[in-house]
Amino acid sequence: MKIAVPFWNGHVATVFEAADEMVVIENLPEGDRVQRMEFLKGSSPLDRAVHLKDLGIDVLICGALSRSAAHRVEAAGIRLIPFVRGPVEEVIDAFREDRLDGERYFLPGCRAMAQNQGKLCRRRRNPLEGSDS
């Protein structure tokens, strides 16, 4: 499974549409984690969604994003966890440990929207431990 987190100064970038870089974390079958940086190509939501798809991203954890961008990302078959904030490492750890639904990880006043849009509450297991990597 590949997870992408657009970032700025070590924190999740506040606005997905304005982010230039992202951390891509890949879980290898043998249990190792590979982490690398990628540039987010394209300025339109569609171009960005296509780029994420081309990179084989399965999950996008990001800050605020517009509905049109959210639709395009989800239409590309990528699981979306939007309106997230915080230091990248901490957010990734929280995601791995299935505790990314805490208030502190969401942009102010956006938790409900995040859960509705990203369907966060439907998670049942730690995705990094899954066999679909």
Binding site: T14, L107, P108, G109, C110
Partner: protein, 457 residues
């Protein structure tokens, strides 16, 4: 958290009665006050916003890279009406106009900053609606001749006929060709453009028709030509007036028989592409000069559209300049509000031999020199500051006499109307005999009849 200053109940009521969103931040960029309009625009409640970093509440596309509050704090100068886009708590991306200022205590020490912002979605929608009246596909114009072209374009596109576009370089021939393609039943097919004037004969032939493996030394495998790639779509042949007589014969055959043979092939391939040809020369003149085959001319000239040069549709210049400024603002992440009256006067007095492409280049160049505020004459290329135009651009010049000014004005209007005195008189709202009298009195020399009678469209 400790507030930077306490608000009285009256002050809170006043703040909440303001239609613009208002928030203040302390020196750590954390929100200390957040009025009702700010709640409504951002979708974030006051309780959620207070104490949070402002970028996480406002969620503007510029917050991280070019924070306006930080700029204000560093420069000490307020920012007024900068347009940015924010994402609301419900996921809507909306345009807002932001202004910022520093907050100081009684001793004049900076204790934070204040930001006001206004939702300008309605204004933007209205502006787009007004622009929509003057746009067609990607073409902008309110010129009557262009509007006539817009009117016939849908029917023309639906007809499937071969189209010939004539117009000077930079008048938007390819934009028209794309518009015809997009409006036609072939819109889901490809739009393939070839600049015939840019390629030597042999290369053009292999580009258009493709070749089979072994057709020549380096032809290791089959290569499809542009005709093949444009199948079920549109093939745009630009600069058709520049092709050689031999190439004209080959093209004529394709247009007549609707088949072609790739180089090295003995079998004919059906050509299922709509042809749109364009030229910056008058093909009819080339036919008269014997440089272009008459039979090919008539094959291509099923429907002919003549695109007017920019100097004959100067009423479009502000519209086009505004379009390019908005485009450059978006591309270069700048906020140039527009062009000053003096700079516009400079542009209006220029002939624009390079047409709209030249205007686009002029605006792009002005973006390099113009750091903020509107584009001024000094941001424009120097050739626009000639002595003939500098008095219009607000630059010092010798004062012309009233007679000279009147003559200069009449000449420019006559030129714009293709030297037609009837049209000029009509546009100026004066009787034609009055115009004739003025032309004589001012000693204006009209071009000879041949030049005058040349159609401008």
């Amino acid at each position: 958290m400790k507030p930077i200053f306490s608000m009285t109940r009256t002050e809170n009521i006043i703040l909440d009665s303001i239609a613009d969103g208002v928030f203040t931040v302390d020196r750590d960029w954390r929100i200390t006050t957040f009025n009702r309009a700010a709640e409504q625009i951002t979708g974030v409640s006051r309780g959620d916003a207070i104490g949070q970093p402002c970028k996480e509440v406002l969620k503007a596309d510029i917050c991280e890279k070019t924070c306006l509050l930080r700029q204000t704090q560093e420069t000490g100068r307020p920012i007024v009406n900068r347009t940015v886009r924010i994402i609301t708590a419900s996921g809507h991306r909306i345009p807002v106009s932001i202004s910022t200022a520093i907050l100081k205590d009684e001793s004049g020490n900076a204790i934070g900053a204040v930001e006001t912002f206004r939702d300008i979605s309605v204004e933007e929608k209205l502006r787009k609606k007004i622009q929509g009246r003057y746009s067609f596909e990607d073409i902008l114009s309110k010129n009557p001749r262009m509007q006539q072209l817009f009117d016939i374009l849908p029917d023309l596109a639906a007809s499937g006929s071969t189209v010939l576009l004539e117009g000077e370089s930079g008048t938007g021939k390819e934009l028209f060709a794309r518009a015809i393609h997009n409006l036609s039943s072939r819109k889901s097919g490809p739009f393939i453009a070839v600049n015939c004037g840019a390629l030597p004969d042999t290369l053009l032939e292999s580009e258009l028709f493709g070749y089979k493996a072994g057709a020549f030394t380096d032809a290791k495998r089959d290569k499809p030509g542009r005709f093949r790639r444009a199948e079920k779509g549109t093939l745009f042949l630009d600069e058709i007036g520049d092709i050689s007589p031999a190439m004209q014969v080959r093209l004529l055959r394709v247009l007549q028989e609707r088949t072609y043979e790739p180089l090295g092939s003995v079998e004919s391939v059906p050509a299922d592409a709509r042809i749109i040809a364009a030229t910056n020369r008058r093909l009819e003149d080339l036919v008269h000069e014997g440089k272009f085959r008459e039979d090919l001319y008539y094959r291509i000239n099923v429907v002919r559209l003549v695109l007017p040069p920019l100097r004959e549709r100067m009423e479009d210049l502000p519209l086009l300049a505004d379009h390019f400024i908005r485009h450059m603002n978006a591309v270069q992440n700048k906020d140039i509000p527009g062009i000053s009256d003096d700079a516009m006067a400079c542009l209006m007095s220029h002939e624009f031999p390079g047409n709209i492409r030249e205007l686009e280049n002029v605006i792009e160049r002005s973006f390099i020199l113009c750091k903020s505020g509107p584009i001024l004459p000094q941001h424009l290329p120097e050739f626009l500051w000639t002595r003939e135009t500098d008095e219009l651009c607000g630059l010092p010049a010798e004062t012309p006499t009233i007679k000279q000014m009147e003559a200069s004005f009449l000449i420019s209007v006559l030129r714009r109307n293709g030297w037609s005195r009837m049209k000029t008189a009509s546009q100026l709202g004066i009787h034609k005999s009055t115009l004739f009298r003025k032309i004589r009195a001012l000693g204006i020399q009209l071009p000879d009849r041949k030049e005058r009678d040349k159609p401008v469209a």
